[in-house]
């Protein structure tokens, strides 16, 4: 996984974010985890190193100073890799399978290519799946409400690729940035949300 370096800008904000006591506890917490954890399967110890965004969100309890958050969001937007062929909509049926799968990135999972999006864990999406989580908002009728214009497609692709580009300390993983989902998988998820034939929009 490619990690962002903590920017100078971020570092400046960090000093103001936590109280001295919490900052002290935090340093001890990080030291303790690095001592107590071990690598297993694909889950290496490097995962305990925060990138710049995680550090800013952690130290500000997910409430980063507004100006810094906006600048970091812009950096994230610029780093989104859109498909070279310009096509953002794939196959919604494949998208449904990807949305159902909770596999990927854990020590009990294999390496690349085997991941799903875990979408139903947090979102209501298609009308036929009644087992859905509520950590995220409902995506049912996503395309019916918004249409499927090129702008909406770009927004949906970007949001799945890197949700933090739109809300810096969002709970949602950065599925493209982290290498969890491939370009084709994200296209298929965009189709699940936006294709008029997708059950999401019926």
């Amino acid at each position: 996984m490619k990690l962002f370096e903590a920017s100078n800008l971020g570092a400046a904000a960090l000093a103001i974010a936590l109280t001295a006591q919490a900052g002290d506890d935090r340093a001890k917490a990080v030291e303790m985890m690095k001592r107590d954890f071990h690598a297993r399967g694909i889950a290496g110890m490097d995962r305990l190193n925060e990138d710049g965004l995680q550090a800013l969100c952690n130290r500000s309890r997910n409430q980063p100073p507004k100006e810094i958050a906006e600048r970091m969001e812009r950096d994230q937007i610029e780093a989104i890799k859109y498909p070279a062929d310009g096509k953002l909509m794939g196959d919604w049926k494949s998208g449904e399978r990807i949305a159902q799968s909770g596999r990927g990135m854990s020590w009990s999972d294999g390496g690349a290519g085997a991941s799903g999006g875990s979408c139903y864990n947090c979102h209501r999406i298609g009308p036929n799946e009644t087992s859905f989580g509520t950590l995220g908002n409902s995506l049912y009728q996503f395309g019916k409400i918004r249409g499927s214009t090129p702008e909406i497609q770009k927004y949906a692709y970007g949001r799945i690729y890197n949700a933090k580009a739109f809300n810096l300390c969002s709970t949602m993983p950065r599925f493209g940035h982290s290498g969890t989902l491939t370009e084709q998988q994200i296209k298929d998820l965009v189709a699940l949300l936006l294709d008029p034939d997708s059950p999401v929009n019926k």
Binding site: R40, N58, P173
Partner: protein
């Protein structure tokens, strides 16, 4: 309650659950695509029925059979030193078990550190019986073929606090220090998916799929971290302690693996446990 009536109750309860599940499956197949309300009503019915089932099972819990095995193990002379655990001090004096479980994690002067129940019991197995810590850490979780000794022992000790109030001490400086560290571990986002404990357990009323997620930062809900653990898990039919629960949470958090009975886990149990102080612990139970 004798074995026979336990069996009868389990059969009756299971039959009830099977009917509900079958009804759920039928409803699911028949669900028309546009009926939002019907979908969420079905889901809630399943959750409600499971809760009823668990209540029914509570006074006929399979956990009690594991408690009995743990008691025999506690009293047996074992290990290289051929000693029992009857002199193990769980914080209230050697051999005092009543109420010990609901007062851990706590500071232990002999080890000069804060320990949770399983960590302390493993410590006793090492110091009193001569077992090797690294051997106990090799396969610490239950499988189809084996329930590890510490799991049985923790279940027994936990049963000795049934019906008592959680009272995790916060008097010693090290108890307060590890509470603060636990809070930071709880909120530490990292890894490929940017998750912390708080990502899933930081807000009231959320779910993953149909599984409700308690908010352990809330004084009202923190008790749910302890209630039912150690627990007989319906999925797989295995007895598990909080060590397993936390381990599997970190797996799903996409973190590397935390060491068995490590200080990190004591810190988390202290933070969540002290938040739950004052609530009544019902003893080892059943989990979905």
């Amino acid at each position: 309650m004798n074995r026979r009536s336990i069996k009868l109750k389990v059969v009756v309860a299971l039959a009830g659950l099977a009917v509900v599940c079958a009804a759920h499956a039928q409803k699911k197949e028949a669900a028309a695509p546009s009926k939002k309300a019907a979908a969420s009503a079905t889901r809630d019915a399943v959750t409600t029925e499971f809760e009823k089932f668990r209540e029914l099972m509570e006074d006929a819990s399979p956990a009690e059979l594991f408690e009995a095995r743990g008691e025999a193990l506690w009293k047996a002379k074992r290990g290289p030193k051929n000693a029992s655990l009857e002199q193990c001090d769980l914080g209230l004096g050697p051999g005092v078990l009543k109420g010990a479980y609901v007062q851990m994690p706590r500071y232990f002067a002999d080890a000069d550190r804060v320990m949770d129940a399983e960590r302390r019991i493993v410590h006793c197995m090492v110091t009193l019986q001569g077992f090797k810590a690294e051997d106990l850490a090799k396969q610490p979780f239950s499988s189809e073929s084996r329930t590890p000794d510490p799991v049985l022992l923790v279940t027994y000790v936990a049963g000795q606090s049934r019906g008592m109030k959680i009272a995790i001490p916060q008097k010693h400086a090290k108890e307060r220090e590890i509470f603060g560290i636990g809070r930071e571990i709880y909120n530490f986002r990292a890894g490929p998916w940017d998750f912390s404990c708080a990502s899933c357990h930081g807000e009231d009323g959320k779910r993953i799929r149909t599984q409700e997620l308690p908010n352990f930062t809330s004084k009202e809900q923190a008790i749910r971290a302890f209630q039912g653990w150690p627990g007989y898990r319906m999925t797989g039919g295995l007895m598990h302690t909080l060590q397993w629960r936390l381990n599997d949470c970190f797996r799903q958090q996409r973190f590397p693996e935390p060491g068995y009975v490590s200080e990190t886990l004591t810190a988390l149990l202290t933070y969540v446990g002290a938040n739950a102080n004052g609530h009544v612990y019902k003893g080892p139970g059943i989990k979905r």
